[in-house]
């Protein structure tokens, strides 16, 4: 019961934030709304016992990425963003597309629980405790054992990101 109430709460937060993100005139407002939405998603993570991801969402996404966004918005001239024209006159087509996607997805997903017959044996009941708690340990374990390779690849990815942003943004290299 409590789960449901929290789900609604966080879902509302997520959707509200998302709608505001794409409708607010000012880029700063958009960014702040996005943070609200991300907090909602973080809450949903927590609700599903993904404590590690909850932390990452707060620290990396909100604390890192969104800060970067805000920083850049401040760096470039803010006034221009204020004057941004919002929706174009013939926005109906794009809306139709979006509604189309939404309808399709909703149609598929509300087809009932039949759509989510997990393959037999896919769920691992033996580690049910994992979902109940100890998630962080298990994740850490997986990252350095089974998923060692993508973990190391991620380091390359971040290296490229560092090199790239230095090259592109620095005046003289």
């Amino acid at each position: 019961m409590l789960d449901t109430i929290f789900f609604y709460l966080f879902a509302l937060l997520t959707l509200l934030g998302a709608v505001l993100t794409i409708t607010r005139r000012s880029a700063v407002h958009s960014a702040i709304s996005l943070i609200v939405s991300l907090v909602g998603v973080a809450g949903l993570f927590l609700l599903q016992r993904a404590e590690f991801l909850f932390a990452v969402q707060i620290v990396l996404y909100i604390g890192g990425i969104m800060l970067l966004f805000l920083f850049v918005i401040m760096l470039v001239n803010l006034d221009r963003a204020e004057r941004e024209r919002q929706f174009s006159k013939a926005w109906w087509l794009a809306l139709a597309c979006v509604v189309g996607v939404g309808a399709e997805i909703a149609y598929f997903l509300t087809k009932g629980p039949a759509a989510f017959q997990f393959p037999p044996g896919a769920a691992s009941p033996g580690v049910a405790s994992a979902a109940a708690g100890g998630n962080v340990e298990r994740l850490a374990d997986a990252l350095f054992s089974e998923y060692l390779l993508p973990f190391e690849m991620a380091s390359l990815l971040l290296l490229v990101a560092v090199v790239g942003s230095v090259i592109l943004a620095k005046k003289r290299i």
Binding site: A31, A50, L53, P150, L158
Partner: protein
């Protein structure tokens, strides 16, 4: 495992979030906001991964979500740097002004 919130709710929420991200990408005129819309889409993906993972009682989905976040971070760093160079050269962040390459 009893859960009060069925999987499909999460998936529908994820789909709506994805749709909103797409809408933001298509509607918005400010490059940074457009870029933020991509973050919305990626969050939708994360949400569905975590939901699946929760139902399957696995951690694979969590791992994937983690990597999506890392990718998002790297992409954001490079993307914002590119947006800064665009701004430096054109003094605008209106997306439709950046349309010299065409036909």
């Amino acid at each position: 495992m009893t859960t009060a919130v069925p999987l499909s709710w999460y998936l529908i929420l994820s789909a709506i979030l994805f749709g909103l991200g797409v809408a933001g990408f298509v509607f918005r005129r400010n490059i940074i906001t457009v870029f933020m819309s991509i973050e919305l889409m990626l969050n939708a993906v994360n949400l569905s991964f975590v939901a699946f993972s929760y139902q399957l009682r696995q951690t694979d989905g969590h791992i994937y979500t983690f990597f999506v976040m890392v990718v998002a971070a790297a992409e954001a760093a490079v993307g914002l740097a590119i947006i800064l160079t665009v701004f430096k050269n054109r003094a605008t962040l209106e997306i439709d002004e950046v349309s010299d390459l065409k036909n």
